[in-house]
């Protein structure tokens, strides 16, 4: 049941990301200083921000950016992790040692600093924070993929394939990779939520999306200055972040339970 609610919510998010004007026809960037700091009410269901922009419109239009950051960052992290993890698992002892050390370095390196460095080198923005979050989350995925690939590679059914005389390449393509990657899809679902939160944290440090983009983290950052007087400025973007991260987690967990064995 919860996973269906979660799925429904995610579908809504995707709709908001692809065709935001369906849900919120207004302009997310249209300022109206005279309308600033309106609490939620008729006309402005989520209230307005310091420049009189409609927060509901901005939350809806910000979905795309946040979702793209979440998905793309996770994709970058997982792609990198796949290369590293599979290489470590199958590449022999030297490669494994090298990659494992490298992962350990990434783990030991404060994730935020890594992101900070990437962002200061390439300048803040959605693309950079996506890359930064992707990089920072890669070692976690890589470790899981490595373990998974190893256990698949030493599994009885891979041995059975060897006994049947299949070539290394075929075993890799037909048995090891598909089985090693399958659980990663679940991880991705779980990871997207976390990536959104991460990206929001970067925005919070003023390192995320550039103004006036209606990205949730950036909205939160802008709103926290007025948290004592205009709670709705942080509440609704914060709610959007928490709900999407939670929905992704719920769905990921449900997928995990359904997975083979």
């Amino acid at each position: 049941m919860p996973q269906w609610i979660a799925l429904g919510f995610l579908v809504l998010l995707v709709v908001a990301a692809v065709v935001p004007w369906l849900l919120a026809p207004g302009d997310p960037l249209a300022i109206a200083p005279a309308e600033a700091f309106r609490p939620p009410g008729w006309g402005h269901p989520f209230g307005t921000d310091e420049s009189g922009r409609d927060i509901y419109t901005r939350v809806v239009h910000g979905t795309g950016a946040s979702l793209v950051i979440g998905v793309a960052a996770t994709a970058i992290g997982v792609a990198l992790a796949l290369v590293l993890g599979v290489a470590a698992a199958l590449g022999g002892r030297v490669v494994d040692f090298g990659v494992s050390r490298f992962l350990e370095v990434l783990f030991a390196f404060p994730g935020l600093l890594l992101a900070l460095l990437v962002i200061t080198v390439y300048g803040p923005g959605i693309v950079t924070s996506t890359i930064a979050v992707g990089l920072a989350t890669a070692p976690g995925y890589a470790r899981i993929i490595r373990a998974q690939t190893r256990s698949v590679a030493s599994s009885a059914y891979v041995e059975a394939a060897v006994v049947l005389g299949r070539s290394r390449g075929r075993i890799l393509g037909r048995h090891i990779l598909p089985n090693a990657i399958a659980p990663v899809f679940v991880l991705v679902t779980l990871g997207v939520g976390q990536a959104i939160v991460w990206a929001a944290a970067l925005s919070y440090l003023g390192l995320g999306a550039e103004p006036p983009a209606a990205e949730w983290g950036a909205m939160l950052f802008a709103g926290k200055n007025y948290v004592a007087t205009a709670w709705w400025m942080t509440f609704f973007p914060g709610l959007a972040i928490v709900l999407s991260a939670a929905a992704a987690t719920v769905l990921g967990r449900a997928l995990q339970r359904r997975g083979p064995r």
């Binding site: 200083p33 005279a34 600033a36 310091e50 003023g206 550039e210 103004p211 926290k224 200055n225 004592a228």
Partner: protein, 521 residues
């Protein structure tokens, strides 16, 4: 706002907690580098030769008078003879000489001295109570410069120590002494019991009332205000506009404000490079950047719109509101004339396929959130006529790097100086050439010979009327050329809680002074 002014007599003793949002100094000696955090805390333990009153008039402090020679090439500064530094070293002309040498020493890297004392070639010890400043050319702003905390007097004995030591515990003549500095947490200042040199206008004599000041660093403005509200700290600075309003309407809290001297908060258009090398484009920008509604809503009436490059706390400021009238039609017309006739799919103007893009690096350390929101609104209103203003929030180092490389179309920089001479620093063509560090104060890339002449002359004459005329002319030139869009005064906003009494701002730099302050036990 606060409780009705109590008639209770000041009581000695107690600890006051101050929370600053300006950041933690990296060195407590205000000679080294020289920024607002240093001035704020430094005012408690070092004192200057001169001070200013509310009108900006120079008044004596550690010095008793300053007299220029007829040619203006030397100043004789008479000193008090009864002051000692808190390490026991007497304050005298030799100390003044040692201080100026310390400020001018490249190793000290005083960013204030390089401009403010640029004309001082040496200090001669005429007698123990007379120091003679020898200048390379006349400097009408010398005494104003000397009134700044960054050029305050420190014990020459203490200055002999290594810079590290001096940074940890500088020694001055002030009402308080640095007792300890726990990095990233607090500086503890204790009362100087032998204090005898309060500035003019003080409410009492002798040592300060407070036993101790705990000087804390709370970078987050919401937390800072929360700490004030909960009584955890007594005084905070860098208040956000909405907090100012909240404090003023609370019966517990009170607010002290004062316009910081120097330049107003303003946008500087980079006239050295495209697209703002074209005066028409600059004028179009200014005619389309509608800031008044934003200033009203974002600042809740705590600031007034400024039409002057100089802040209202600086003498000789001149306003030309008409030059900043909003007129989108005119802006469109100007842009058409300037050749930006095309429009791209997003509605931005183009010329030869190039978009009318204006890069706007924002220092997240210097621009407060309300200000950044105001920039977003400028972005939105200038978009109407086709400007693509791109806001880039940057950390301080990156921001300076972008400015140093002239990699911006418009920016906002703060410059605090207690003299209209700030105009020379900001708009004299010589200050386009960057300092070796890459820093150039003339961000607008203004290079106009008449303006240079006005500013040089104004900096040399001591005749007030002549200065006023010259500065007015200079400001008119700037205004006509549309190099600057003034926004509002840079305000010092100090909030304080119910325990605090007798708090005031020193007019020189609008820095709070705790000499007369006391806390209700």
């Amino acid at each position: 706002a606060g409780p009705a002014a109590t008639t209770a007599t000041p009581a000695s003793g107690g600890t006051l907690t101050y929370a600053t949002g300006f950041g933690e100094p990296t060195c407590l000696d205000p000679h080294v580098g020289g920024n607002m955090p240093q001035a704020l805390v430094g005012t408690n333990f070092v004192e200057s030769l001169f001070s200013q009153d509310a009108d900006g008039t120079i008044v004596p402090w550690l010095a008793t008078s300053g007299t220029p020679s007829a040619d203006g090439l030397s100043w004789d500064i008479a000193l008090r003879d009864d002051v000692t530094f808190t390490d026991g070293t007497p304050f005298d002309a030799a100390a003044v000489k040692a201080n100026v040498e310390h400020m001018q020493d490249p190793a000290t890297a005083s960013s204030t001295a390089i401009l403010a004392l640029g004309k001082v070639t040496e200090v001669q010890v005429v007698d123990p109570t007379t120091a003679r400043f020898v200048l390379s050319e006349p400097d009408s702003a010398l005494l104003e410069s000397l009134a700044q905390t960054w050029l305050a007097m420190e014990s020459p004995t203490a200055l002999q120590r290594t810079q590290e030591e001096n940074c940890e515990s500088p020694v001055g003549t002030g009402p308080f002494v640095v007792s300890s500095w726990t990095k990233q947490d607090n500086i503890t200042l204790v009362r100087n019991d032998d204090y005898n040199s309060p500035p003019a206008g003080s409410a009492h004599e002798g040592p300060a009332y407070l036993d101790e000041i705990v000087w804390r660093f709370i970078p987050d403005s919401a937390t800072r205000f929360a700490a004030l509200q909960s009584g955890q700290v007594d005084v905070i600075d860098e208040m956000q506009p909405d907090n100012v309003v909240a404090a003023e309407s609370s019966d517990q809290l009170d607010v002290l404000t004062g316009a910081l001297p120097g330049a107003s908060i303003r946008l500087e258009l980079n006239a050295g490079y495209a697209p703002f090398d074209d005066e028409k484009v600059r004028k179009a920008f200014i005619a389309s950047a509608d800031v008044n509604p934003g200033i009203e809503s974002l600042f809740f009436g705590t600031v007034d719109r400024s039409y002057s490059v100089l802040s209202s706390g600086t003498p000789f400021g001149a306003s030309y509101p008409d030059d900043f009238a909003i007129d989108p039609d005119r802006a469109n017309q100007l842009l058409d004339e300037a050749g930006w006739t095309g429009r791209d799919a997003d509605g931005y103007r183009t010329k030869d396929g190039q978009r009318l893009t204006v890069d706007f690096p924002i220092s997240t350390n210097q621009s407060i959130p309300a200000e950044q929101s105001l920039f977003e609104q400028i972005q939105a209103t200038t978009k109407e006529v086709g400007f693509d203003v791109e806001l880039h929030p940057l950390d301080l180092s990156s921001w300076y790097a972008a400015l140093g490389a002239w990699d911006f179309g418009v920016t906002s920089a703060i410059y605090t100086k207690n003299s209209p001479d700030v105009l020379r620093i900001l708009y004299h063509s010589s200050n386009i050439i960057p300092a070796p560090s890459g820093y150039h104060p003339n961000n607008a890339h203004v290079s106009i010979p008449e303006l240079d002449a006005d500013l040089t002359e104004a900096g040399q004459t001591t005749d007030a009327d002549q200065r006023e005329a010259l500065y007015a002319d200079a400001q008119k030139i700037l205004s006509d050329g549309a190099y600057v869009l003034p926004l509002y005064d840079h305000l010092q906003k100090i909030g304080y809680g119910p325990r605090v009494q007798g708090l005031s701002l020193l007019p020189t730099l609008q820095i709070p002074t705790f000499y007369d302050a006391w806390v209700q036990q």
